[in-house]
């Protein structure tokens, strides 16, 4: 028999091996691609076949993907939900079909009413980093970097409107700063659309209005890299903090262009999600520690995306 093109999992796996599906948010996002890699690697190690579907950022496509996985009769479904609320229905459907389902990288259930660590009923597991905790780690790091004395001026580079992480990371950031007793004022909170060029433009523009910003917190590493260019070009002394631990950001931290970030490990998430489906341990909330990284500690974080 001819085997299917196994682009996602190059390791040889028997054709009748158990199949596990991952409904990814979009494989052109490096973070999601790394999650998928972790998932596929873990599956290959366990002698299973991973079916990775690419929603390409569309909730509707992701709904179709989940449905195709259910109809296709996989042994377990991991979903990296593009929308926490919408994903509830998928959990219900998988449950109806008797297929175990786990969430990876993002929560299922209304994030406003559900605590970050409260796993949605019906999921066999939730493998994620706590976004609020990540924001908090960034906030604590920021508090260390802010100038002492007086009210520090902080600017926030958000993702894009409509993503729950935007608010969660910001909330954690505030908590981290408050917990460290920092005295600060948010002078601007503007979207950088998750991209480096967006981050660069936002920082350039904010620096025009507030040339004296002391610190920029970018909600994602891609944006902090762009922001670093803007800060440098404007001759500002603002400190820069990102979030995510991308390869590029870690390189920039080592080079001294960025001050710090919070280390995410997407491949670990993929592996955790696979484990939750393959060998459930009963523990449903699966995560890993989120250290804040600076130039001194950059070696601790291996950029996975």
């Amino acid at each position: 028999r001819v085997r299917a093109g196994e682009a996602a999992a190059p390791v040889t796996v028997a054709a009748d091996a158990p199949r596990y599906g991952l409904a990814s948010a979009g494989l052109s996002y490096p973070f999601a691609a790394a999650v998928a890699k972790g998932f596929a690697d873990a599956a290959a190690k366990a002698g299973a076949r991973a079916i990775v579907l690419d929603a390409r950022g569309s909730v509707q496509k992701q709904a179709n993907d989940v449905q195709d996985l259910i109809v296709g009769g996989v042994k377990g479904i991991a979903v990296m939900p593009l929308d926490a609320v919408v994903a509830q229905a998928w959990v219900a459907r998988a449950n109806e079909a008797g297929i175990p389902i786990a969430a990876v990288a993002a929560q299922v259930g209304d994030p406003r009413t559900r605590a970050a660590r409260d796993v949605y009923p019906g999921l066999v597991g939730l493998a994620t980093q706590d976004e609020v905790a990540a924001g908090r780690a960034a906030g604590r790091l920021a508090a260390r970097l802010l100038p002492k004395g007086g009210v520090a001026r902080v600017a926030l580079i958000e993702g894009a409107a409509g993503f729950p992480e935007v608010e969660q990371r910001a909330r954690g950031f505030h908590r981290g700063l408050d917990a460290a007793g920092a005295s600060y004022r948010i002078v601007a909170a503007q979207p950088g659309n998750w991209t480096s060029e967006g981050g660069e433009a936002a920082c350039q523009n904010i620096l025009v209005a507030h040339p004296d910003v002391d610190l920029f917190f970018s909600e994602a590493d891609d944006m902090v890299i762009g922001c670093a260019r803007a800060v440098q070009a404007a001759g500002s002394t603002a400190r820069l903090i990102g979030l995510g631990g991308s390869k590029l950001a870690i390189a920039q931290i080592k080079a001294g262009a960025v001050d710090g970030t919070v280390c995410f490990k997407p491949e670990a998430l993929g592996a955790l999600a696979f484990a939750a489906l393959h060998r459930p341990t009963g523990k449903r909330f699966l995560t890993y520690p989120l250290p804040a990284i600076t130039a001194g500690s950059a070696a601790q974080c291996v950029g996975q995306w």
Partner: protein
């Protein structure tokens, strides 16, 4: 001779190419699935799935086709659908599902009216206007939802939504009867031996045969998701109006040569605005279905879908220059697009290669009927 030409016209690549493209694609996928030892591709479940997945794009595509026929363009459909979804989810707990549904549809139609009025009364290019409303309406969704997902908690409302979107309608008898009726009409036409319409007759007979066979293959328990039924009804109504009524002809005339249409007494502006209203209405309906699917919506819902909708229409052979187009073919165009993704999922094609394959297939599908036809639609 005219008959032979009519026949060649109707079944030639130029006219029927998009059907062939779909059939070819499905055949390739079925073979590939069989070769990989996967469950049979042509199962009722799988085909129903494809139709279900294509239904929202199909519904918006039908109205988009009408807009394109009048020579305009609507980029705002996806945003409008998201807004309608937000309205439905937001208002359902307050004023009840039926009224909220009306509000959602009215919202869609209202924005369509605004689009149409700006384009036709002020005279700004449709592309830039609907690009503006695409952005502005999405912004409105952000403002209304405060950038967060909305969901319905009220169980009665939720039940109504599920009933609206998730029931299945029994399809065995309708399909069988429709098929037999079509067959009867076809035979009747054959007996009347009209010179014209041999092509139509043959098309009718093929359609009838497909319906009857599908019904028999699926068995008496066969039921369709209600969204697919909505799509079928909307498509059928639109196709009949366009091809069989004076209103339809006026839509075509408006897009084919607005000045000629105006001089022959057609209220061109009304038809052009009407097309936008229909587009908004369809987007509102699609948004309501989307919201009801999950009892929830997120502010970035359906982002980017407008290009898929337009792609379906153009894949179905609708001209960007107005005056020509068929809603049935648009739906087939949408089916091609969703068959493709469904096929990727079934065959577990590496995600990296999907874009490459999809883009190529889209161009090849369009090539099938362009090269087959005498001359392509200009640029």
């Amino acid at each position: 001779m005219s008959d032979a030409i009519g026949w060649r016209r109707s079944f030639g690549l130029r006219e029927a190419g998009v059907y062939y493209a779909l059939a070819l694609l499905m055949a390739v996928l079925a073979l590939a699935a069989a070769a990989n030892g996967l469950p049979p591709y042509f199962s009722t479940g799988n085909l129903t799935n494809i139709a279900y997945q294509a239904s929202l794009v199909g519904i918006m595509g039908v109205a988009m086709t009408i807009v394109l026929i009048t020579g305009a363009f609507d980029l705002s459909v996806a945003s409008v659908a998201a807004l309608a979804a937000a309205v439905l989810i937001g208002l359902s707990p307050v004023i009840g599902f039926p009224l909220a549904l009306v509000a959602a549809l009215a919202t869609g139609a209202g924005i369509g009216l605004v689009n149409g009025a700006i384009v036709n009364l002020i005279g700004i290019n449709a592309f830039i206007v609907t690009l503006g409303t695409l952005t502005a309406v999405r912004g409105l969704v952000m403002v209304l939802t405060d950038g967060r997902s909305l969901m319905v908690e009220d169980p009665t409302v939720l039940a109504q939504m599920l009933a609206f979107e998730r029931t299945r309608v029994p399809a065995f008898w309708p399909l069988l009867l429709l098929g037999l009726a079509a067959l009867a009409v076809g035979v009747g036409m054959m007996l009347r031996r009209r010179r014209q319409g041999r092509a139509l007759r043959l098309g009718l007979m093929i359609g009838a045969a497909v319906m009857v066979i599908a019904a028999l293959a699926a068995g008496p328990g066969f039921a369709l998701p209600v969204t697919v039924a909505y799509l079928l009804v909307i498509t059928a109504v639109a196709a009949l109006v366009l091809s069989r009524t004076v209103v339809g002809r006026r839509f075509y005339a408006t897009g084919g040569n607005a000045e000629a249409a105006r001089l022959s007494g057609i209220d061109v502006t009304a038809y052009k605005i009407g097309a936008f209203v229909l587009s908004g209405l369809a987007a509102g309906f699609a948004g309501a279905l989307f919201a009801s699917r999950l009892g929830a919506m997120n502010p970035t819902a359906l982002q980017g879908t407008e290009l898929t909708v337009i792609a379906a229409a153009i894949l179905g052979g609708t001209s960007l220059f107005g005056g020509a187009g068929s809603v049935v073919k648009t739906v087939v165009g949408a089916l091609i697009l969703f068959t493709l993704t469904n096929g990727f999922n079934i065959l577990n094609l590496g995600a990296s290669y999907q874009g490459l394959v999809e883009g190529t297939v889209v161009i090849v599908a369009a090539a099938i009927y362009t090269v087959g036809g005498r001359r392509g639609v200009a640029a």
